[in-house]
């Protein structure tokens, strides 16, 4: 059995009447990126704060590399580091000062602390900005100094709480690359995100969280196949033919058809397997009906669709209860 970096069972945290985390069970294998995916307010940050010893759980248990996060908090702290949603560095201090400060707190002596800071600033392309206060940094630079601080003593487990929220695409790609490199060197990463694409690209396993509970767990592939269908996306030449096209697709595929905001586009779920064959039959029927198709594509369900399907399902269950 592979070593577990994190194991939680029945983890609970309440704030007043809200159960922010409501019986969370997680098993995070060591040595890879584990994605925790959920919308705003799903309890991701609260869960991470408990696992990182920042918040005391109200119920249940959590352990990191076998150490209980409450009883053996210090042993946990020796092995983890955290990059929070907001920059976890001192904005009044310069980049270099932040890293030296942290190096000292991690037990490096003064000369070693300076050397380590300089080395990290160089590796993260921040040498030029080393003498500037962090509050003058761009979003991407802030994230980098933050991650540099987190790997000052390379941790066994790194918590990244929504590390790319609010970043431009280039900076986001940089963060993704950094995460891949860090993991390749043996650090386990727990990544929370609300972007399905991010989890899909980086994580080897994903837990989907909603209302403080895990509602689905598995590899990205497993999650997609659990929803079990692809879709066909069609663009028509003439918007006036859309109604007719909708009828044809609904009849052929025996499924719901979504009209997109673009007046010539529509998407239909394909259920029951053999997607390519069903799609070509549908296109054939459209041609027979005299509807001109400009473009079409066949897609696997995106994690977005998986997510919506999972949360939708839960909402209906709740309504029925």
């Amino acid at each position: 059995m592979p070593e577990l970096a994190i194991e939680t069972s029945g983890l609970v945290k309440t704030f007043g009447d809200t159960r922010a985390v409501d019986g969370l069970d997680l098993k995070v294998p060591a040595g890879a990126v584990y994605g925790v995916l959920g919308p705003n307010g799903a309890g991701k940050t609260t869960a991470v704060r408990m696992m990182a010893t920042l918040l005391r759980p109200d119920g249940g248990q959590a352990s990191v590399f076998g150490h209980d996060v409450v009883r053996e908090a210090d042993a946990v702290r020796r092995r983890v580091s955290l990059t929070g949603q907001y920059a976890s560095v001192d904005e009044d201090l310069t980049g270099a000062e932040n890293l030296i400060l942290l190096a000292r707190l991690l037990g490096h002596r003064k000369p070693a602390a300076r050397a380590r800071a300089a080395e990290l600033l160089e590796a993260f392309g921040l040498t030029e900005a080393a003498g500037r206060q962090v509050k003058t940094y761009s979003g991407g630079m802030r994230r980098r100094i933050d991650i540099a601080a987190s790997i000052l003593n390379t941790p066994d487990l790194l918590f990244l709480d929504e590390p790319t929220t609010g970043l431009d695409p280039r900076s986001r790609n940089n963060v993704w690359d950094i995460i891949r490199i860090v993991v390749a060197h043996g650090t386990t990463v727990l990544l929370t995100t609300q972007y399905l694409e991010e989890a899909d690209r980086l994580a080897s396993r994903i837990a989907v969280i909603d209302h403080g509970k895990v509602i689905a767990e598995g590899t990205p592939g497993e999650l997609k196949s659990s929803v079990g269908s692809g879709s066909i996306h069609v663009r028509l030449r003439d918007p006036a033919t859309r109604q007719a096209a909708e009828r044809v697709l609904a009849e052929t595929l025996d499924t719901a058809v979504y009209l997109e905001s673009d007046a010539v586009a529509l998407t239909a779920r394909i259920t029951g397997g053999n997607e390519a064959e069903q799609a070509s039959r549908a296109l054939h029927r459209l041609a027979e009906a005299g509807i001109v198709v400009d473009d079409f594509s066949l897609g696997q369900p995106s994690l977005d669709e998986v997510f919506l399907a999972l949360t939708d399902h839960r909402a209906t269950e709740e309504a029925a209860a």
Partner: protein, 280 residues
Amino acid sequence: MSTTTESGTTYAPAADVLGTVLTPGAKPARPSAWSASVTFGWRAMLKIKHVPEQLFDVTAFPLMMTLMFTYLFGGALGGSPTKYLQFLLPGIMVTSVVMITMYTGIEVNKDIEKGVFDRFRTLSIWRPSTLVGYLLGDLLRYTIASIVILVIGLVLGFRPQGGITGVAGGTLLLLGFSFAFSWLWTMLGLLMRSEKALMGVSMLVMMPLTFLSNVYVDPSTMPGWLQPFVNASPITHLVSAVRSLMRGTPDVGEITWVLVSAGVLIAVFGTLTMRLYNRK
């Protein structure tokens, strides 16, 4: 290097470069309580270096207090400003420095909202060191305020009979008490939701505490029902002790009272602060 260095905007992470700075397993021993506290003290100094405006309250405020009370009340209360100053100066020093301690709470309150506190709290260090570091930085601020007041006092005609030793002793006692008293503010800083609320509570504590004391006038001139309150005030005890030291006639009873209450303050509010800090 012949090539130009990468600028911040064109940075792209390179696996070989990043790989060399990743050192799994290599971890130095955890720093001692003292070393961690001093490092946090260094952080406080750096903040003063980057935001020197924050020294305004430890320079301009004491200057204003000393000048205002010496010349406003000196003639009426002590016969002449210079005579009154001999009585007032140790007291105004105590008032100013103890007033300044409340900024400690505001600093903590502002900081706790920021992400950097989360990082400190996930470190394997002696837990109180983060807060002790603040207070070490604040000791510097209290020292500056004390020196400012002493210098103005000397310029205006303050002539302490206790000499350099007496003045130094009085100042050290004041700094020691202020350090202990600051734990009240760190506790409130962690407890209160906003800076404004904290400011309100601070003023509510500080105004009566400093005015209902022997700083400005002798308590024997006050109505009988008020005297017990004034004489029981920690500020009254502290001022008496500091005055006695600066006058060159140390009052051992008052000094002991101050030292013991400082110990109690740390024991009570230090413990409550750490409890809140760990729960936050």
